[in-house]
Subunit: 200 residues, 2 copies
Protein backbone atom coordinates (compact mmCIF):
# COMPACT_ATOMS: atom_id res chain seq x y z
CA UNK A 1 0.00 0.00 0.00
CA UNK A 2 1.02 3.60 -0.39
CA UNK A 3 2.64 4.51 2.90
CA UNK A 4 2.63 8.21 2.06
CA UNK A 5 -0.95 8.69 0.96
CA UNK A 6 -2.65 9.58 4.23
CA UNK A 7 -5.41 7.66 6.03
CA UNK A 8 -8.31 9.06 3.93
CA UNK A 9 -6.77 7.85 0.67
CA UNK A 10 -5.75 4.52 2.22
CA UNK A 11 -9.31 3.98 3.41
CA UNK A 12 -10.72 4.78 -0.04
CA UNK A 13 -8.35 2.26 -1.65
CA UNK A 14 -9.26 -0.39 0.95
CA UNK A 15 -13.01 0.09 0.40
CA UNK A 16 -12.78 0.16 -3.39
CA UNK A 17 -10.72 -3.04 -3.38
CA UNK A 18 -13.71 -4.82 -1.79
CA UNK A 19 -15.81 -4.29 -4.92
CA UNK A 20 -16.11 -7.32 -7.19
CA UNK A 21 -13.68 -7.02 -10.09
CA UNK A 22 -11.31 -4.68 -8.27
CA UNK A 23 -8.18 -5.87 -6.46
CA UNK A 24 -5.73 -3.75 -4.43
CA UNK A 25 -3.87 -2.68 -7.58
CA UNK A 26 -6.90 -1.64 -9.62
CA UNK A 27 -8.44 -0.01 -6.54
CA UNK A 28 -5.33 2.17 -6.37
CA UNK A 29 -5.68 3.07 -10.04
CA UNK A 30 -9.38 3.85 -9.52
CA UNK A 31 -8.55 6.02 -6.50
CA UNK A 32 -5.99 7.96 -8.54
CA UNK A 33 -8.50 8.45 -11.34
CA UNK A 34 -11.04 9.71 -8.80
CA UNK A 35 -8.58 12.12 -7.19
CA UNK A 36 -7.46 13.42 -10.57
CA UNK A 37 -11.01 14.15 -11.66
CA UNK A 38 -12.32 15.46 -8.40
CA UNK A 39 -15.13 17.62 -9.77
CA UNK A 40 -16.26 15.43 -12.65
CA UNK A 41 -16.04 12.04 -10.95
CA UNK A 42 -15.18 11.98 -7.24
CA UNK A 43 -17.80 14.51 -6.15
CA UNK A 44 -20.66 13.10 -8.24
CA UNK A 45 -19.81 9.55 -7.14
CA UNK A 46 -19.82 10.57 -3.48
CA UNK A 47 -23.23 12.19 -4.00
CA UNK A 48 -24.61 9.22 -5.95
CA UNK A 49 -23.51 6.79 -3.24
CA UNK A 50 -25.03 8.94 -0.51
CA UNK A 51 -28.28 9.18 -2.49
CA UNK A 52 -28.34 5.41 -3.02
CA UNK A 53 -27.65 4.79 0.66
CA UNK A 54 -30.42 7.13 1.74
CA UNK A 55 -33.06 6.40 -0.87
CA UNK A 56 -32.76 2.91 -2.32
CA UNK A 57 -34.96 0.39 -0.56
CA UNK A 58 -36.16 -3.15 -1.04
CA UNK A 59 -39.57 -3.47 -2.70
CA UNK A 60 -42.02 -5.00 -0.24
CA UNK A 61 -43.85 -6.84 -3.01
CA UNK A 62 -41.16 -8.39 -5.22
CA UNK A 63 -37.92 -7.83 -3.30
CA UNK A 64 -36.25 -5.71 -6.00
CA UNK A 65 -34.18 -2.61 -5.23
CA UNK A 66 -35.60 0.79 -6.14
CA UNK A 67 -36.13 4.25 -4.73
CA UNK A 68 -39.86 3.64 -4.44
CA UNK A 69 -41.70 0.92 -2.53
CA UNK A 70 -43.45 -0.78 -4.31
CA UNK A 71 -40.82 -0.59 -7.05
CA UNK A 72 -41.36 0.87 -10.52
CA UNK A 73 -42.06 -2.58 -12.01
CA UNK A 74 -44.67 -3.50 -9.40
CA UNK A 75 -46.25 -0.05 -9.78
CA UNK A 76 -46.42 -0.26 -13.57
CA UNK A 77 -50.09 -0.98 -14.30
CA UNK A 78 -49.33 -1.70 -17.97
CA UNK A 79 -47.46 -4.86 -16.97
CA UNK A 80 -49.24 -8.18 -16.84
CA UNK A 81 -50.33 -8.72 -13.22
CA UNK A 82 -51.03 -12.40 -13.78
CA UNK A 83 -47.43 -13.34 -14.60
CA UNK A 84 -44.67 -13.72 -12.01
CA UNK A 85 -41.05 -14.35 -13.00
CA UNK A 86 -38.98 -15.83 -10.15
CA UNK A 87 -35.31 -14.79 -10.14
CA UNK A 88 -32.41 -15.57 -7.84
CA UNK A 89 -31.35 -11.98 -7.16
CA UNK A 90 -31.58 -8.39 -8.36
CA UNK A 91 -28.78 -8.96 -10.87
CA UNK A 92 -30.87 -11.63 -12.59
CA UNK A 93 -33.89 -9.29 -12.53
CA UNK A 94 -31.87 -6.57 -14.28
CA UNK A 95 -30.67 -9.10 -16.87
CA UNK A 96 -34.30 -10.10 -17.59
CA UNK A 97 -35.26 -6.42 -17.93
CA UNK A 98 -32.36 -5.78 -20.31
CA UNK A 99 -33.60 -8.60 -22.50
CA UNK A 100 -36.88 -6.66 -22.67
CA UNK A 101 -38.92 -9.77 -23.41
CA UNK A 102 -40.88 -10.05 -20.15
CA UNK A 103 -43.80 -7.76 -19.33
CA UNK A 104 -45.06 -9.27 -16.09
CA UNK A 105 -43.84 -8.85 -12.53
CA UNK A 106 -40.94 -10.35 -10.63
CA UNK A 107 -40.23 -12.17 -7.42
CA UNK A 108 -36.68 -11.98 -6.08
CA UNK A 109 -35.90 -15.11 -4.08
CA UNK A 110 -32.76 -13.73 -2.47
CA UNK A 111 -30.65 -16.81 -3.16
CA UNK A 112 -30.93 -20.50 -3.97
CA UNK A 113 -31.49 -23.57 -1.84
CA UNK A 114 -28.12 -25.09 -1.05
CA UNK A 115 -27.47 -28.13 1.09
CA UNK A 116 -23.73 -27.36 1.06
CA UNK A 117 -24.12 -23.77 2.27
CA UNK A 118 -26.99 -24.69 4.60
CA UNK A 119 -29.54 -22.45 2.86
CA UNK A 120 -33.07 -23.73 3.49
CA UNK A 121 -36.45 -22.46 2.23
CA UNK A 122 -36.95 -20.24 5.27
CA UNK A 123 -33.85 -18.21 4.29
CA UNK A 124 -35.43 -17.37 0.93
CA UNK A 125 -38.58 -15.44 0.08
CA UNK A 126 -40.50 -18.67 -0.65
CA UNK A 127 -43.46 -18.08 1.67
CA UNK A 128 -44.05 -14.67 0.06
CA UNK A 129 -43.98 -16.26 -3.40
CA UNK A 130 -46.55 -18.90 -2.43
CA UNK A 131 -48.74 -16.22 -0.89
CA UNK A 132 -48.57 -13.99 -3.99
CA UNK A 133 -49.32 -16.90 -6.32
CA UNK A 134 -52.30 -18.20 -4.33
CA UNK A 135 -55.78 -16.75 -4.70
CA UNK A 136 -56.35 -17.12 -8.41
CA UNK A 137 -54.99 -13.76 -9.62
CA UNK A 138 -51.72 -15.27 -10.89
CA UNK A 139 -51.94 -17.33 -14.06
CA UNK A 140 -48.34 -18.43 -14.46
CA UNK A 141 -45.12 -18.53 -12.45
CA UNK A 142 -41.98 -18.58 -14.64
CA UNK A 143 -38.91 -19.94 -12.88
CA UNK A 144 -35.91 -18.06 -14.34
CA UNK A 145 -33.32 -19.73 -12.14
CA UNK A 146 -29.73 -20.60 -13.11
CA UNK A 147 -29.07 -23.90 -14.87
CA UNK A 148 -26.92 -25.11 -11.99
CA UNK A 149 -27.45 -27.90 -9.46
CA UNK A 150 -28.64 -25.43 -6.81
CA UNK A 151 -30.79 -23.57 -9.34
CA UNK A 152 -32.51 -26.74 -10.49
CA UNK A 153 -32.96 -28.04 -6.94
CA UNK A 154 -34.64 -24.75 -6.07
CA UNK A 155 -36.82 -24.89 -9.19
CA UNK A 156 -38.03 -28.40 -8.34
CA UNK A 157 -38.76 -27.39 -4.77
CA UNK A 158 -40.69 -24.29 -5.85
CA UNK A 159 -42.70 -26.26 -8.44
CA UNK A 160 -43.79 -28.63 -5.64
CA UNK A 161 -44.69 -25.81 -3.28
CA UNK A 162 -46.67 -24.01 -5.98
CA UNK A 163 -48.92 -26.96 -6.92
CA UNK A 164 -51.70 -25.94 -4.47
CA UNK A 165 -51.72 -22.37 -5.84
CA UNK A 166 -53.24 -23.51 -9.10
CA UNK A 167 -50.87 -21.33 -11.15
CA UNK A 168 -49.01 -22.91 -14.05
CA UNK A 169 -45.29 -23.27 -13.28
CA UNK A 170 -42.84 -23.05 -16.19
CA UNK A 171 -39.07 -22.74 -16.61
CA UNK A 172 -36.83 -20.93 -19.11
CA UNK A 173 -35.98 -23.14 -22.10
CA UNK A 174 -32.59 -24.82 -22.25
CA UNK A 175 -30.69 -24.95 -25.50
CA UNK A 176 -28.02 -23.44 -27.70
CA UNK A 177 -27.45 -19.77 -26.79
CA UNK A 178 -27.76 -17.12 -29.51
CA UNK A 179 -24.43 -16.90 -31.34
CA UNK A 180 -23.42 -20.20 -29.74
CA UNK A 181 -20.97 -22.29 -31.73
CA UNK A 182 -21.53 -26.01 -31.16
CA UNK A 183 -17.80 -26.52 -31.01
CA UNK A 184 -17.58 -24.40 -27.86
CA UNK A 185 -20.69 -25.73 -26.09
CA UNK A 186 -20.55 -28.25 -23.29
CA UNK A 187 -21.99 -31.72 -23.83
CA UNK A 188 -24.86 -31.20 -21.39
CA UNK A 189 -26.20 -28.19 -23.29
CA UNK A 190 -25.97 -29.98 -26.63
CA UNK A 191 -27.75 -33.04 -25.21
CA UNK A 192 -30.54 -30.87 -23.75
CA UNK A 193 -30.89 -28.87 -26.97
CA UNK A 194 -31.18 -32.13 -28.91
CA UNK A 195 -33.84 -33.55 -26.59
CA UNK A 196 -35.83 -30.29 -26.80
CA UNK A 197 -35.49 -30.01 -30.59
CA UNK A 198 -38.28 -28.26 -32.50
CA UNK A 199 -39.52 -28.25 -36.08
CA UNK A 200 -37.26 -25.92 -38.08
CA UNK B 1 -28.68 -0.90 -18.79
CA UNK B 2 -31.24 -1.88 -16.23
CA UNK B 3 -34.41 -0.11 -17.29
CA UNK B 4 -36.15 -0.86 -14.01
CA UNK B 5 -33.50 0.23 -11.58
CA UNK B 6 -34.47 3.85 -10.99
CA UNK B 7 -32.40 6.95 -11.80
CA UNK B 8 -30.27 6.84 -8.62
CA UNK B 9 -29.04 3.33 -9.34
CA UNK B 10 -28.55 4.08 -13.04
CA UNK B 11 -26.45 7.09 -12.14
CA UNK B 12 -24.32 5.05 -9.75
CA UNK B 13 -23.70 2.43 -12.45
CA UNK B 14 -22.80 5.12 -15.00
CA UNK B 15 -20.32 6.80 -12.64
CA UNK B 16 -18.69 3.55 -11.52
CA UNK B 17 -18.26 2.45 -15.14
CA UNK B 18 -16.00 5.49 -15.68
CA UNK B 19 -13.41 4.11 -13.27
CA UNK B 20 -10.40 2.46 -14.91
CA UNK B 21 -10.79 -1.31 -14.94
CA UNK B 22 -14.59 -1.21 -14.69
CA UNK B 23 -16.88 -1.48 -17.72
CA UNK B 24 -20.69 -1.24 -17.76
CA UNK B 25 -21.05 -4.90 -16.79
CA UNK B 26 -18.62 -4.89 -13.87
CA UNK B 27 -20.00 -1.51 -12.75
CA UNK B 28 -23.41 -3.19 -12.49
CA UNK B 29 -21.93 -6.02 -10.44
CA UNK B 30 -20.15 -3.50 -8.22
CA UNK B 31 -23.38 -1.54 -7.75
CA UNK B 32 -25.24 -4.70 -6.74
CA UNK B 33 -22.48 -5.59 -4.28
CA UNK B 34 -22.72 -2.08 -2.82
CA UNK B 35 -26.51 -2.20 -2.50
CA UNK B 36 -26.39 -5.65 -0.92
CA UNK B 37 -23.90 -4.52 1.72
CA UNK B 38 -25.34 -1.13 2.41
CA UNK B 39 -24.04 -0.71 5.96
CA UNK B 40 -20.66 -2.40 5.58
CA UNK B 41 -19.69 -1.05 2.15
CA UNK B 42 -22.01 1.52 0.55
CA UNK B 43 -22.22 3.86 3.53
CA UNK B 44 -18.49 3.78 4.39
CA UNK B 45 -17.56 4.27 0.72
CA UNK B 46 -19.88 7.27 0.43
CA UNK B 47 -18.28 8.76 3.54
CA UNK B 48 -14.73 7.99 2.38
CA UNK B 49 -15.37 9.64 -1.00
CA UNK B 50 -16.88 12.70 0.64
CA UNK B 51 -13.89 12.93 2.99
CA UNK B 52 -11.46 12.60 0.08
CA UNK B 53 -13.32 15.24 -1.90
CA UNK B 54 -13.31 17.66 1.01
CA UNK B 55 -9.89 17.05 2.49
CA UNK B 56 -7.40 15.74 -0.08
CA UNK B 57 -5.34 18.51 -1.66
CA UNK B 58 -2.29 18.85 -3.86
CA UNK B 59 0.95 19.45 -1.97
CA UNK B 60 2.27 22.92 -2.84
CA UNK B 61 5.88 21.73 -2.64
CA UNK B 62 6.04 18.42 -4.49
CA UNK B 63 2.61 18.10 -6.17
CA UNK B 64 1.61 14.88 -4.39
CA UNK B 65 -1.91 14.28 -3.05
CA UNK B 66 -2.45 14.27 0.70
CA UNK B 67 -4.76 15.67 3.36
CA UNK B 68 -2.04 18.02 4.56
CA UNK B 69 -0.19 20.71 2.60
CA UNK B 70 2.81 20.29 2.57
CA UNK B 71 2.25 16.53 2.32
CA UNK B 72 3.47 13.95 4.85
CA UNK B 73 6.61 13.21 2.82
CA UNK B 74 7.59 16.88 2.49
CA UNK B 75 6.89 17.40 6.21
CA UNK B 76 8.97 14.40 7.29
CA UNK B 77 12.20 15.91 8.66
CA UNK B 78 13.86 12.50 8.85
CA UNK B 79 13.91 12.31 5.05
CA UNK B 80 16.93 13.54 3.13
CA UNK B 81 16.21 17.14 2.08
CA UNK B 82 19.04 17.15 -0.44
CA UNK B 83 17.57 14.45 -2.70
CA UNK B 84 14.66 15.01 -5.12
CA UNK B 85 13.09 12.14 -7.05
CA UNK B 86 11.18 13.33 -10.14
CA UNK B 87 8.13 11.18 -11.03
CA UNK B 88 5.54 11.44 -13.76
CA UNK B 89 2.45 11.29 -11.53
CA UNK B 90 1.15 10.36 -8.09
CA UNK B 91 0.82 6.70 -9.11
CA UNK B 92 4.55 6.55 -9.78
CA UNK B 93 5.21 8.27 -6.44
CA UNK B 94 3.16 5.62 -4.62
CA UNK B 95 5.04 2.88 -6.47
CA UNK B 96 8.38 4.38 -5.34
CA UNK B 97 7.12 4.57 -1.76
CA UNK B 98 5.98 0.94 -1.86
CA UNK B 99 9.49 -0.07 -2.93
CA UNK B 100 10.63 1.64 0.30
CA UNK B 101 14.13 2.27 -1.06
CA UNK B 102 14.02 6.06 -1.37
CA UNK B 103 14.24 8.34 1.65
CA UNK B 104 14.37 11.75 -0.01
CA UNK B 105 11.61 13.98 -1.33
CA UNK B 106 9.61 13.92 -4.55
CA UNK B 107 8.63 16.19 -7.37
CA UNK B 108 5.49 15.25 -9.32
CA UNK B 109 5.78 16.51 -12.91
CA UNK B 110 2.12 15.98 -13.76
CA UNK B 111 2.81 14.28 -17.09
CA UNK B 112 5.49 13.86 -19.74
CA UNK B 113 6.57 16.00 -22.67
CA UNK B 114 4.79 14.74 -25.76
CA UNK B 115 5.06 16.19 -29.24
CA UNK B 116 2.16 14.00 -30.37
CA UNK B 117 -0.21 15.13 -27.62
CA UNK B 118 1.11 18.70 -27.73
CA UNK B 119 2.35 18.70 -24.12
CA UNK B 120 5.12 21.27 -23.71
CA UNK B 121 7.28 22.16 -20.66
CA UNK B 122 4.88 24.88 -19.54
CA UNK B 123 2.13 22.26 -19.03
CA UNK B 124 4.34 20.39 -16.53
CA UNK B 125 5.77 21.46 -13.18
CA UNK B 126 9.22 22.05 -14.70
CA UNK B 127 9.74 25.60 -13.51
CA UNK B 128 8.95 24.56 -9.93
CA UNK B 129 11.50 21.73 -10.21
CA UNK B 130 14.24 24.06 -11.45
CA UNK B 131 13.41 26.50 -8.66
CA UNK B 132 13.56 23.83 -5.95
CA UNK B 133 16.83 22.43 -7.28
CA UNK B 134 18.60 25.79 -7.53
CA UNK B 135 20.27 27.45 -4.57
CA UNK B 136 22.66 24.73 -3.44
CA UNK B 137 20.41 22.91 -0.96
CA UNK B 138 19.71 20.01 -3.37
CA UNK B 139 22.57 17.60 -3.97
CA UNK B 140 20.99 15.23 -6.48
CA UNK B 141 17.90 15.03 -8.71
CA UNK B 142 16.92 11.45 -9.58
CA UNK B 143 14.79 11.15 -12.71
CA UNK B 144 12.43 8.18 -12.13
CA UNK B 145 10.58 8.52 -15.43
CA UNK B 146 9.16 5.69 -17.55
CA UNK B 147 11.47 3.97 -20.05
CA UNK B 148 9.33 5.12 -22.98
CA UNK B 149 10.05 7.58 -25.77
CA UNK B 150 8.13 10.36 -24.00
CA UNK B 151 9.74 9.46 -20.66
CA UNK B 152 13.24 9.58 -22.11
CA UNK B 153 12.56 12.80 -24.06
CA UNK B 154 11.37 14.39 -20.82
CA UNK B 155 14.41 13.10 -18.94
CA UNK B 156 16.81 14.57 -21.50
CA UNK B 157 14.99 17.89 -21.44
CA UNK B 158 15.04 18.04 -17.63
CA UNK B 159 18.76 17.13 -17.49
CA UNK B 160 19.47 20.10 -19.80
CA UNK B 161 17.33 22.49 -17.77
CA UNK B 162 18.93 21.35 -14.50
CA UNK B 163 22.56 21.97 -15.56
CA UNK B 164 22.64 25.54 -14.16
CA UNK B 165 21.28 24.35 -10.79
CA UNK B 166 24.53 22.57 -9.99
CA UNK B 167 22.69 19.47 -8.68
CA UNK B 168 23.77 16.06 -9.97
CA UNK B 169 21.13 14.57 -12.28
CA UNK B 170 20.77 10.78 -12.37
CA UNK B 171 18.30 8.25 -13.79
CA UNK B 172 17.00 4.89 -12.58
CA UNK B 173 19.16 2.01 -13.86
CA UNK B 174 17.93 -0.02 -16.83
CA UNK B 175 18.36 -3.77 -16.81
CA UNK B 176 16.81 -7.15 -16.18
CA UNK B 177 13.88 -6.82 -13.70
CA UNK B 178 13.90 -8.94 -10.54
CA UNK B 179 12.49 -12.36 -11.41
CA UNK B 180 12.89 -11.53 -15.10
CA UNK B 181 13.44 -14.51 -17.38
CA UNK B 182 15.65 -13.61 -20.36
CA UNK B 183 13.38 -15.64 -22.60
CA UNK B 184 10.52 -13.23 -21.93
CA UNK B 185 12.45 -9.96 -22.06
CA UNK B 186 12.44 -7.68 -25.08
CA UNK B 187 15.64 -7.20 -27.07
CA UNK B 188 16.06 -3.56 -26.02
CA UNK B 189 16.15 -4.44 -22.31
CA UNK B 190 18.65 -7.25 -22.88
CA UNK B 191 20.90 -4.98 -24.95
CA UNK B 192 20.78 -2.25 -22.28
CA UNK B 193 21.45 -4.74 -19.49
CA UNK B 194 24.45 -6.08 -21.44
CA UNK B 195 25.88 -2.61 -22.03
CA UNK B 196 25.47 -1.75 -18.34
CA UNK B 197 26.92 -5.07 -17.11
CA UNK B 198 28.72 -5.13 -13.77
CA UNK B 199 31.29 -7.35 -12.06
CA UNK B 200 29.43 -10.36 -10.60
Amino acid sequence: MAASAGPEIERLIALLSKLPGLGPRSARRATLALLKRRDQLLGPLADALAAARDRVKTCGVCGALDTTDPCAVCNDQSRDQTLICVVEDVGALWAMERAGAFRGRYHVLGGLLSALDGVGPEALRVRELVQRSTGGSVREVILALPATVDGQTTAHYLAERLIPSGAAVTSLARGVPVGGDLDWLDDGTIAQALRARRPA
